[in-house]
């Protein structure tokens, strides 16, 4: 099988196609290469973000994320950048509950480094799922977690017969049918959820569970006032552009949240398009919102030098509101493209 995935973006060569000439096998092959590249490139599941979690205990810290991975991924690269008051070690489990891997932690920013761990998947899936990792400090030295990220490793080549949707490049020979070989590529192109979707636009997660028990130490909290409060303010967002006339794209969001009683509302607020409809919660222990929050936000403008619509950032702010007395807490916000 040679449904190979190049490192450098191939060119599909639409200008090789003329109305008066037959379509060449070579043109089909170049399109197949580009389709494989788009499908096998890999994507960030957790864009590098700063939890800014500082602890001085040996209790396990559980981080939870909600993602829609790409089917083609076989392995993920997790990376952790941490700094401590003195050199120390931590144990990292991926996912939470797996065998811990010991990682060193430096005591200066200039010598801090990203410690990488490869997670190998037991099966392929593009279904929405939860990712977890657990960090357990080795001693009570003050430790700050400065960055966490997770990236799907690219593929060397794709399978042709399953949902990898790989295109076999050796079958594009003169006299052979072209379309049969591009069947998988056509399926991918026709469904924008199958190729090119950004698995995550942003992730923010702090521990809602510390030492195996629910913790309020790190979550963002709001007491009942009836007014929406900011979870974090105005992170830029741009989805990919789909239809030629599109100026917006839809983002999906789920939050890890809970209340002390009564109900709370969670929503997204775009600086350009306004707020989404709210999702209501009443759970009293940390749980992901059952239904996603959806909102149309700016998509990329290919006529702009930096892709922004109107030269401004569309800024997305997650918000929470406690409807009655009591407290709502949010420990994670996961946002991805539809």
């Amino acid at each position: 099988m040679t449904a190979s995935v190049p490192l450098i973006r191939p060119a599909a060569r639409p200008r090789d196609v003329f109305a008066s000439d037959p379509v060449r096998a070579l043109t089909g092959q170049e399109a197949g290469k580009l389709a494989n590249w788009c499908l096998g490139l890999g994507t960030p599941l957790i864009p590098s973000y700063a939890p800014i979690v500082t602890v001085a205990s040996t209790s396990e810290l559980l981080f939870q994320y909600r993602v829609r991975p790409r089917f083609q991924a076989l392995q993920r690269l997790w990376q952790f950048r941490m700094r401590a008051a003195d050199p120390m070690e931590v144990s990292i489990e991926i996912p939470s509950g797996a065998t811990g891997i010991v990682a060193p932690v430096s005591d200066t920013r200039e010598t801090a480094f990203s410690f990488g761990i490869v997670e190998t998947l037991g099966s392929q899936s593009s279904a929405e799922t939860e990712l977890t990792c657990a960090i357990t400090p080795g001693d009570t030295t003050s430790l700050t977690i400065e960055s966490i990220s997770c990236i799907e490793l690219p593929r060397a080549f794709l399978a042709v017969g399953n949902a990898d949707l790989g295109t076999e490049l050796t079958r594009f020979v003169t006299g052979q049918p072209i379309l049969a070989n591009l069947d998988n590529a056509l399926d991918a192109i026709a469904d924008p959820t199958l190729v090119g979707r950004r698995a995550s636009l942003s992730q923010w997660s702090v521990p809602a569970t510390v030492g195996g028990a629910t913790s309020t130490a790190h979550a963002k909290a709001s007491v009942g006032t009836g007014s929406y409060e900011t979870i974090y303010a105005g992170l830029p967002v741009l989805t990919r552009k789909d239809a030629p006339t599109a100026t917006t794209g839809v983002v999906m969001c789920k939050m890890l949240a809970w209340v002390t009683g009564g109900t709370a509302d969670l929503r997204l607020n775009s600086s350009v398009h306004g707020p989404s409809s709210a999702v209501n919660i009443s759970n009293t222990s940390p749980a992901w919102t059952a239904n996603p929050i959806t909102l149309a936000v700016d998509c990329e403008n290919l006529a702009a030098s930096d892709g922004r619509q109107g030269g401004v950032f569309d800024r997305l702010t997650p918000e929470m509101r406690k409807n009655t007395s009591g407290t709502v807490r949010v420990a994670a916000v996961s946002i991805w493209e539809n």
């Binding site: 995935v5 639409p14 990236i151 026709a190 190729v195 006339t245 922004r308």
Partner: protein
């Protein structure tokens, strides 16, 4: 202007094209080649993205300045994978940063994209294409104003950032290798007054195919 003249995906139903269907010029040009070019234009990664939920108490800062000419590291992302265009050049990164100064003095947050271990080289080169400066005198937190929004690795950076990963060829399959180009986004602090420090409270970087 994207690689596709439509600047968008032309929708169609794949089921209408069977294996023995003639490969028409319309299908080859618009539905396959140009659609794929558009999908590739829009495939840039979301590499970095965070904003402190408590900016007055949760932020990153730097060691004490001893010179107004010396950039000091505030924060660096984990390495991310860089997308390479058809000519081998990397997709530019659209960037943004948030923060404030501890005193009402001009300070500069310098955003630098570079292969891992090389950001300090560009931290001293404000005119490099790898650098965007965000200057503020505000003691209130907020996303910073900056004229430039794009940073880009050079051809040399691509060579330096090339990394070979060992992976597998299928679920439970055999070992194989893949090449990626890796880079980080770092934020450096410069101050006009040695008593004015910088507090970084947010950072963003997303690839964009560019014009």
């Amino acid at each position: 202007m994207g690689a596709s003249p439509h600047e968008g995906r032309i929708a169609f139903a794949a089921a209408q094209f069977g294996a023995d269907f003639p490969h028409s010029t319309h299908l080859a040009k618009s539905l396959v080649a140009e659609n794929l070019e558009h999908i590739a234009d829009q495939i840039g990664h979301a590499c970095v993205g965070w904003k402190s939920p408590n900016p007055t108490t949760q932020f990153f800062t730097h060691r004490a300045h001893t010179s107004t000419a010396q950039p000091l590291l505030i924060w660096e992302s984990d390495p991310f994978h860089v997308t390479l265009a058809a000519d081998g050049t990397p997709y530019p990164l659209r960037v943004d940063a948030a923060g404030f100064a501890t005193q009402a003095q001009p300070v500069t947050f310098r955003l630098v994209v570079a292969p891992p271990g090389r950001s300090i080289r560009y931290a001293h080169t404000p005119t490099a294409e790898q650098v965007v400066d965000c200057t503020t005198s505000s003691t209130s937190d907020g996303w910073l104003t900056h004229g430039d929004t794009l940073v880009q690795l050079s051809a040399e950076d691509v060579v330096v950032g090339l990394h070979r990963f060992g992976t597998i060829d299928s679920v439970g399959g055999d070992p194989i290798t893949v090449d990626v180009v890796r880079a980080t986004l770092s934020v450096w602090a410069l101050t006009s007054n040695l008593s004015a420090a910088l507090r970084l409270t947010g950072c963003y970087a997303q690839e964009y195919v560019g014009l």
